[in-house]
């Protein structure tokens, strides 16, 4: 189906690249996600994962021009640090439309150029010979067959969430957010972390009907107590969101650099148990590098054949 959204994870880690054997399952690269819809190519963020994505695109396109949109959620370091290593941008025949919000320190172009200035990096952005167009995303816009809505997410300095719709496929990308901070009853939630959150209707509308929500879930509830205000969600917040909007699948994202594979798996198991106790049919999984899923209603796995 050409109007299905196919989502591939190239970087799932938060804050700083975290390579090593203990993180090899979920991956150590910082944020980069690819969405394909037919021939349309939409990329999210340029964390260190975009280097491997670039290699993959060169293989897949095999010399043909790459034409893609690169949408930034925000410009914190872990979301831009891979950009100088995105080899596709050095090839003249390629075209990229780059979306990002204006920041106090400048627009996307200025900040991407800034991290490649001589004191930081040996090659300047002017060496990128691909056609680079810079745009500010509006609340609603369209890229090919994909309708896109944006929402401000609560994160220090701000971040954008993106909702993509194409045909019957709905995908929400909401990394780097601390939803508790915009709960209408945040004082109650601060005292009782398991209390149901109340949000402005627009917040819930943004998530409702999604087949796949990729969401910041950096912390366990215990760790979150020490990280309030750092701009990231905890398990309880994500479970509560699932209860209110019931996505088909929820993918935990922006894994903490302190979390090894076993710890991320434990968070997935914890969320899955809590969702099951609430009789919610939401499939939870940890975002992992090298995984491609369809943003469509998930079919339950068939019952297993009897073991020999």
């Amino acid at each position: 189906m050409s109007d299905e959204l196919l989502v591939t994870f190239w970087g799932t880690r938060g804050s700083i690249p975290t390579p090593g054997r203990l993180t090899e399952k979920y991956g150590g690269n910082t944020t980069c996600v690819e969405v394909r819809c037919g021939d349309e190519l939409i990329l999210f963020d340029a964390g260190s994962g975009i280097r491997e994505l670039g290699s993959s695109l060169l293989d897949r396109f095999a010399g043909k021009p790459v034409n893609a949109s690169l949408l930034f959620t925000h410009l914190h370091w872990d979301h831009i640090q891979g950009f100088p290593f995105f080899t596709c941008t050095y090839i003249p025949s390629n075209k990229f439309t780059i979306y990002g919000e204006e920041r106090a320190a400048g627009g996307v172009k200025e900040l991407l150029s800034g991290q490649m200035a001589g004191d930081y990096f040996p090659i300047q952005i002017s060496a990128m010979q691909a056609e680079l167009k810079f745009k500010t995303p509006s609340e609603e816009f369209q890229i090919g067959p994909v309708k896109i809505k944006t929402m401000q997410l609560p994160h220090p300095g701000g971040a954008l969430g993106y909702r993509l719709e194409a045909g019957d496929s709905v995908f929400v990308f909401a990394t780097d957010c601390e939803l508790d901070s915009i709960a209408l009853n945040k004082d109650e939630v601060a005292k009782n972390h398991l209390a149901p959150r109340r949000y402005e209707p627009a917040v819930l509308e943004f998530f409702k009907g999604a087949h796949l929500v990729v969401i910041d879930c950096q912390y366990t509830d215990q760790v979150y107590r020490q990280r309030v205000g750092w701009g990231h969600n905890s398990v309880a917040t994500v479970v509560d969101l699932c209860e209110q909007v019931e996505p088909g699948m929820i993918s935990l994202f922006h894994h903490d650099p302190q979390s090894n594979d076993e710890m991320v798996t434990q968070m997935v198991d914890d969320i899955s148990r809590r969702l099951a106790r609430k009789n919610l049919r939401v499939l939870a999984f940890g975002a992992r590098e090298g995984l491609t899923v369809k943003a469509t209603k998930p079919k339950p796995a068939p019952a297993l054949i009897a073991a020999h």
């Binding site: 999984f285 090298g290 995984l291 998930p298 079919k299 297993l304 054949i305 020999h308």
Partner: protein, 134 residues
């Protein structure tokens, strides 16, 4: 193997292939292969993937045959690549799942469960050694 020098040659183009040598100048080759161990499956055979892609399906011509109706004729494929072993669903009717997640494709890691229709496997890597004759 205890008295052998460990790796000193670079990797070859084949995934995970490493050249070992010992003091007797015998050359021993070791390569990483992907293994699917059937936990609950209509075949008891271990599925090994090394140099070439392996198609799993109901069709008797498949590289690895699962003779039950939950499996499509050509259901899934496992391909060794430079980034690891990748399992792809081949638009099957009942889907391919990694750790319970319906996938289009996924790079596999040791300990992943892979479900093909009603069949469940545990994926792992193993080293396979060989010593050329002569």
């Amino acid at each position: 193997m205890a008295d052998e020098e460990t790796i000193f040659q670079s990797q070859s183009e084949t995934i995970g292939e490493i050249v070992l040598s010992d003091f007797l100048r015998h050359e021993t080759r070791a390569r990483t292969i992907g293994v699917m161990n059937p936990l609950a499956a209509s075949s008891e055979d271990q599925l090994k993937v090394s140099g070439a892609p392996v198609v799993i399906g109901h069709d008797p011509k498949s590289d690895y045959v699962l003779p039950d109706d939950s499996v499509s004729r050509r259901h899934a494929q496992i391909t060794p690549t430079k980034t690891g072993f990748i399992v792809e669903d081949l638009n099957s009717s009942n889907g391919t799942y990694v750790d319970g997640v319906p996938i289009v494709s996924c790079v596999l890691h040791g300990g992943d469960s892979v479900q093909v229709g009603k069949n469940l496997f545990l994926f792992d890597h193993i080293l396979e050694y060989s010593r050329p004759q002569g």
